[in-house]
Symmetry: C2
Subunit: 357 residues, 2 copies
Amino acid sequence: MTEPRTLEVDLGARSYPIIIGGGLLGGAFDLSSHLVGSDCLVVSNETVAPLYLKSLKKNLPDRAVHSINLKDGESFKTMASVESIIDCLVSAHTNRDTTVIALGGGVVGDIAGFAAACYMRGVAFIQVPTTLLAQVDSSVGGKTGVNHPDGKNLIGAFHQPRLVLIDTDTLVTLPDRELRAGLAEVIKHGVISDAEFFEWLEVNIDALLARDADALAHAIHRSCEIKAAVVSADEQEKGNRALLNFGHTFAHAIENCLGYGEWLHGEAVAAGMVMATDLSDIEQPAGERIRDLIAAAGLPVLPPAMDAKKLRAAMEMDKKVRAKRLRFVLLKSIGEAYIGTDYSESLLNKVFQNAGL
Amino acid sequence: MTEPRTLEVDLGARSYPIIIGGGLLGGAFDLSSHLVGSDCLVVSNETVAPLYLKSLKKNLPDRAVHSINLKDGESFKTMASVESIIDCLVSAHTNRDTTVIALGGGVVGDIAGFAAACYMRGVAFIQVPTTLLAQVDSSVGGKTGVNHPDGKNLIGAFHQPRLVLIDTDTLVTLPDRELRAGLAEVIKHGVISDAEFFEWLEVNIDALLARDADALAHAIHRSCEIKAAVVSADEQEKGNRALLNFGHTFAHAIENCLGYGEWLHGEAVAAGMVMATDLSDIEQPAGERIRDLIAAAGLPVLPPAMDAKKLRAAMEMDKKVRAKRLRFVLLKSIGEAYIGTDYSESLLNKVFQNAGL
């Protein structure tokens, strides 16, 4: 077994490590030493818990381990789920010295993290992401929250974990469709800030789809490095953290119009990145290379058929709307993104037409 | 009209002013310049809104002012109220650049502040407290949250306001019972950290009950100074901020057993302070002076008749329980408090007996 890779999210007193490797839930990592308090609550879902909850518990022999399994899916990313977690913490008589552990994908992590942020005004939190998307993106950076019927992630908090533990062995059980959805965020990291990593992805996309362990470990590590650097520089998204939202203004609107859960988040991001690339003043063949890599990853390059007006209205509800003009993350080139409103309305209309809307 | 008194809560980048004076809602203060964004949401309740909402709105001529009025009372300090506020923000299409303004007592401030903390992971927040209790205590320090059926303030966040605007004229409409409840927290500030202020209260308690404007302004100002100093030194209650909970372990349990809203918070705190004084190794006549001042303020010195076992169980659910032994804020003398577990079980039993339980 190779040594796990370790990196640090640098946030002063709230800094924390990300540990990436195989066999970490099998006992190759001392999880227990990272917990606060004598008890903990593992939040998982009905799909992931049967696979990994037992292993996780074995790593915590000296703790009272409570657990709750949510239903699986974005449609359960609601305040009701947060309240069910808090009910669990209350009925287990846990106090401020407890730890909430998220075991699952991005939905589980977002809900569990928000519950940890709210319970007694904030208790310790650990992320154990089991999907590629959560490993390369949502488990890092402290964004937690749930959806409102009228918009994604409208209710939430910044609440950093104390540890992100990424056992790459969990990807063995991940459905192909979810693996591809995770690759959308990996590709995004290359597109917005690392042309060399983007090239590496072009060369290695087939190895990643074939779940080559070394390739996946490298992609996860580099993605986490990029995300950690961005988050360290701008924890609360006052500025450049918004670059991580490349493709997401379109994606959130797609998910909102389609109904959460119809498309996976990564699939919507894939189509959204193609639209955002179209909206950018980027030279060819860079735009084509982005579209080709997304297609090679087996991801959609077009949004689903939907009412363009509805999509536009949903975009305007997006959190990034300021001064009544939509701001987008745009590209200068592969590896260089910026936040701007310097697109023409006619180009935006053309993007919608190109997308078949 | 005398100049308003101003003081600062020193929290680095999150520092904010507290402005105390008469006529501030009548136009003597430029509220608008403290807002973020072009719109705002005023959260009030059905009792306070008819009295002061119109004045408040007049101070914001250049803003789109939305408003929501909650039902009045601690029993509405729930997640459902928070969600109704968030629904308002969503349907008004407000974005991150908005300001939530709490206009009312402690319950309104706690709920509105938590909604502001959660909406889009945190928007700007201003406190305009209209009860003495909120002016001297709950509006300062950033504690926000709601109750869980099994415990007070179990769900919440630290979310500092940008401004606390205390118009002392609002006390004119405050019912006597609520004025007295506010004095409980004023007395608490003297007891835990300022013997001189405690003596001043002994001399001026009748003037305060008679609503002498100068006396009230001094009591509010000194209370805010004490609270601001404690909060600045320990924002998230890792240490000495807990001193502000003097009497509150008993008080929260009383409120929990009695049902929220039967007694006002300040009334429960009054009885709780007498119990906490009894539990302290404090020389006479200091203990008697504390009891006498509480009685002179027209506040209860005994808890209501209730089952002692139930009260004990409720105390153990309190957030401050650590290592399975109850920790209390105890007194060395008037003006000097500490956090300890150095009380005997027999003394705790005696405190319950003295309280008629």
